[in-house]
Amino acid sequence: MKFVYDRLLGGKNGAIGIAILAALIIIVLPLVLDLFRLNLVGKYLTYAFAAVSLVLLWGYGGILSLGQGVFFGLGGYCMAMFLKLEASDPEATKIQSTPGIPDFMDWNQITELPWFWEPFNSFGFTVAAVLIIPTIFAYIIGYSMFKRRVGGVYFAIITQIIALILTVLIVGQQGYTGGINGITDLKTLHGWDIRDDSSKYILYFINAFLLFGVIFLSRYILTSKFGRLLLAMRDKEDRVRFSGYDVSNFKIFVFCIAAMISAIGGAMFTLQVGFMSPSFVGIVPSIEMVIFAAVGGRMSLIGVVYGTLLVNFGKTIFSETFPELWLYLMGALFIGVVMYFPNGLAGIWEKHGNKLVSCVKNMKCASAIKSMIKTKRLAKAEASSE
């Protein structure tokens, strides 16, 4: 019990933060919002997985990845492949020249299901693939970068390039991937329609619980010695290395975990939104995820969830009114936050929260002094009048 309290919830302050966030996401929002808006929130919360992964990777590890969209996308595509195969049964696709394969394959003159699509007929395999494929991919990237001691800006640029390459690959191989349109028209999961109202609610709650699960997992990692080593590495990498740690292994591990967390978000995105496309894989979404983390506070697992929600609501509102200005505003927001509020919303809250408390105390003090002065004056006036 003490373990749960200290390590997963993060002591008193952490537990209060979790409780407030949980109340907001699980109780308040579903009661207040209509289903359309709630589904939107659910979509935003899938990005929060990527933002949480960036707390581990960037906030604590000091490793800026501009390619979390890659892992988000891989997770999403794995899920989309399964759902697409289920939606493409021979009955539903009988007008195609090759019934039983996804429609976009048929349009591209592919007559047989490619070998790497086969295993996605199994839901068990798909769930495993969502978790494992992005992790293996992250391991390969991490191993080849961190063992060579590539880091900092170079690492950021390389991850960004990988995001670009993957987008180009998906768009280019449209017979196998659905191309620029992505994988669309997803309908059912084992016969369960993911598009109707009740399943939208269920998926929203599954997503919310998974998000809290991921936050607990991250909290466990960050409160272990591993977490302190991440901070130590960010500060003095050589000192850690010459204290007997193989620094690259620690970086590879945190990169893999971050990839897996992002991938869960991606899979939930596909389920809730009903399609997956390269526009959630590339450079722009990857950078947006970094912005969510920066705005929310990259050292705070809870803060980044608020950051993600806030920026996305902002995006929805502003891009409806000033669609062409939104990107500039987003850029300005990022620069502003990094320059003036390096700890984001969480940092402002900490500072402001303390001030609020001391302000209340000061006011009490001031009024006490005022009343003291008043009584003294009264006493003096009485004395002089006598």
């Binding site: 050589d238 007997g244 740690y245």
Partner: protein, 247 residues
Amino acid sequence: MSNTDFTLAIEDLTVSFDGFKAVDSLNLYIDKDELRVVIGPNGAGKTTVLDLICGKTKSTSGSIKFKNKELTKLAEHEIVHAGVGRKFQTPSIYENLSVYDNLEVSFPRGRNVFGSLTFKCDEEVDSRIKEVAKDIFLEDFLEMESALLSHGQKQWLEIGMLLIQEPELLMLDEPVAGMSVKERELTAELLKRICKGRSVLVIEHDMDFVAKIAHKVTVLHQGKILAEGDMQTVQNDPNVIEVYLGH
């Protein structure tokens, strides 16, 4: 090269950076329980020697044997596991962690990824941290964020982070730089205490401090050994006087 009784035996060690030989066929032997001080003018190659021993720089040729184990082929963390600890010239501590956490992170257990995830700060770790903190005069500062320590205290903390790993060879690069007279005295006392049961290799410029601690002094000049012996002999060596005063 044959096996020796020395803790550290460096033979014919050479490293060249684009043709410039920073260390030039160096031979250096250090005994157990010995406190050796390496001195020399700027650019003599003192720090490079430490870099070579701890694996930060790879040698061009020659051998470094620690307890008859060749170090030149090992990765940095393997050299640490073999029992070599090294303090850097500028105090290298984790400023965003407390003194306690700095020592805990340095404790030689849970050194791989999964070990660190399941590491527990138990009785043994706790008492060892407090013991080391006492040795390095920081027992009253355990909860303080280490960024707030004075420069001298940071130097001590880094020494403590090495001591907690119980290295058999301890290498200290300018341990008293930036310390007050009082702190220097305490450090001299600390070094005398900790060189029992291990070998200590110190680089230092402060001659009074060197005289106070050194068992033996090695003078490096342009990557080569100029003189070696006790402080008295070295100070009176005409070559050493020439190098230090000649320009």
